[in-house]
Amino acid sequence: MFDIALLWDVRGLILQGLWNTLWICFFGCLLAVSLGLVLAALRLANPRLFGYPVACYVEICRGIPLLILLFLLYYGGPSIGLRLDAEIAGVTGIGLYGAGYFAEIYRGGFKSIPKGQLEAARMLGISPWHALIRIQIPQMARLIVPPGTNQLIILVKESALISIISVDDLTKNATTIVNQTFQVIEPYLAVALLYWLMIELVARGGYALEKRLANRQPRHVAQKDNSHANG
């Protein structure tokens, strides 16, 4: 029933779709991760000025479907002079949408660092910027890797929506193959397997990173804590 030969015949379309999905996901996630950091940092730096706008941004990302955002960018953009290629609209949509979630993940990480540490740093005359780079971010990194990995997985799966704004990604090309060959199971299952594989790779990468950070960090911190306790 499952016809492998059929898949071999359409490998060109599958590979093209895979390539498009991969690069759009990569840049979309990159935008989400970096813009999210900027938003979280702004909120942290000046809560009174940026707290409310960033919180609103986060709520909007959580409350509207990515598909609406993609449609706004791709079909709504031209009304205000913003003409984007479907691929670029895809990257932008995934990036803007993911940034709201990442801002919240970073914030969770920041909040979990005891205030006493920052007060101590200020007492010692360490500048806020220096405290951010040397004290907050290294500790935060470990905490945000698991939810961050989860979010990346969600973004990779949601990237299938860009097929609806006519990007030739994996999902769109699978449908093209279905329409050409009149076979439903093979193309869709093959493509599902590829998504599964991508997601598994992201998850594995997340675990590996988490392990590395965990191995490096706590021993160092624990030693220091002990020396203080003993001293």
């Binding site: 709520e59 909007i60 479907p65 009304s79 799966k157 999902t171």
Partner: protein
Amino acid sequence: MFEILLNHYPVLLKGLTTTLVVSLSAIALGLVLGVLLAFGLTSRYRLVRWPCGLYRSFWRGTPILLQLLLVYYLLPEIGIEIAPITAAILTLTLNTAAFQSEIFRSGISHIPAGQIEAARMAGISAWQTRRRIIMPQVFRLTLPPLTNEIITILKNSSLISVIAVTELMRVSEQIASRTFQPLETYLAAALLYLAVNLVLARLSAYLEHRMTGGLATE
């Protein structure tokens, strides 16, 4: 944007109703299936755990759009004629069941083993233990992640527009193509999604606030 809302509110509301009906039926059906799957995932028998794990892995590991297309085009292949809206509810149900099963599994693992041992000692059957002791506590424990899942399904229901179910997204597309005001129309739709989801989030926060206290783990 407000002009679109004012001029087209009957259709928009109809679309929103379909969105809500589809999402909430999927959530309710998925809850039943999800609870059963969670029992399967925490079963003593590997022969039960393994297929449940595979199911969860597939439905959580592939894009929901792909699942929808697979369900919608596959069922007629094997001779089952299915209306778009039924396919939509079926897909969302099968998808959310996998996510909910994981939420419930995690909730079940938070119930102290002593309670279950005590129930067995007291001669309460395994099924009764689940129904009367485990699940009431699990529902309270898992309210926040469950709310997130409801919101996720509401948002994901927008993609059933691709199989021509006239929910909010589809209705907006129709309005946009008629009025040539895509920006305003999609903003109006975004506002409606946002409003529903904000209300849901607040409602859940309120319920959570009311239900805290008397939890097994605290």
